[in-house]
Amino acid sequence: MDVTLDGDRCTACGAVFFPALRWGCERCGAAALEPAVLDAAGTLLTYATVRLADPPYTIGEIALDAGPVVRARLLPPDGAGLRFDARVHGVRTDEDVCFAQEADDRA
């Protein structure tokens, strides 16, 4: 099953947010936002591997197809084989959502 993220959408200007903004739209100031379920799929803008941590983990910045730019853990945790601008999608691991490169976008 495809992984989704619970964001929200401004009822006035249509801007989409993740995490949900709830109390008012950053773009236009309207108070009314409605829940929006976003596909956890997009493009990998950049990533960084945290070597301080044992074991290391990798955080990525992903431009979701739905609009928002989100940060998430990436697989594999050591960042091996990740490429800038690759297609990535959400993967549910335990409690969290991570992102991984799509098969035909692996190096």
Binding site: E26, R27, I59, R71, D96
Partner: protein
Amino acid sequence: MRDVHVVGVGLHPYGRASDTPYVALGVHAVRQALADAGLAWTAVQAAYTGSALLPMGISRLMYRHLGATGIPMAQVENASASGSTAVRQAWLDIAGGHHDVVVACGVDKPMALPMPREAAGITDLVGDLAFPAVHFALLANRYLHDHGLDPEVLARVAVKNHGNAARNPNAQRRAPRTLEEVLDSGPLVDPFTRLQACPIGEGAAAVILASDAGIERLGLDRGRAVTITASAARSELAAERENFDVALTRATAAEALAQAGLTPADLDIVELHEAFTIEELLYVEALGLSAPGAAAADLLDGAFDIGGRVAVNASGGLIGMGHPIGPTGVGQVCEITAQLRGEAGDRQHPGATRGLAHMVGVGAVCVAHVLERTAA
């Protein structure tokens, strides 16, 4: 608006957190600034205290040791830009004609590192996993990728700034570092090593600002006064794809330079927020000191060295001098003032007449000041 001048500067050296109360740090810096200006505390009409990591209500507990004069005082919190914002409040106060002599003192100790996003009820996918080094590593990796650069160029920023700090008696890190030492200083977040990140310790910095009327009435030395010819502050716009740190700095610096009637090429000395090495490359481009993508080449050419085209972080910057948060933005104004007066000793940038101080703070906010030696 009235002209505003820096008439006195003072610092308590930055260092690792110790048992010394913040009061001792702040009083030291303010007394030094008063002595530098040739002023008595009784001449100061208002006080702003820049601090982000201390509790509320710290101002009077500190200033009372100079003699309780009953002046208005307030604590200014604006993340890493707290000190810069305290300077701006003092500037607004004098420019607006409310007072003639005002002190801005940045003082801090790492007593608390709060998580504002958590307090704002934001639950994202990464939480504390994306700490500040991660944020800037994300920017760094994309920048290196886009410009086809080796991560070694980032270490060169650290070599320059550690070298400058070695010549600054108020710096937290006094050891010059070779490229190898920076690269081998221990892992952090790729592409940074430990010596490519700022230390967060303790310290204090104070500046006394005055109007022309104040200078005249108190008989201060006009020849050592440095004029604040612009003060600009902005906050982040609604999220776009573009790197907001760069966009925010570009807009704030442009506003400051326009206010001063200067172009980037007019600047001799720039103190900017490089909590991590990548920021120096990003911001010299955002400030217009380098063409887009040219910062690394300019750095390697020595353009940002003391004695280069424009000295960037001659104090040692956040990486070398340190980043005790509240003092940092005030300390930048102290450094630029010393440089424009020709009193920066071993790290004097020859012919420095115009400078810009820049800080960003998480949130995000940005504050910039332009200082010029205008006195005859």
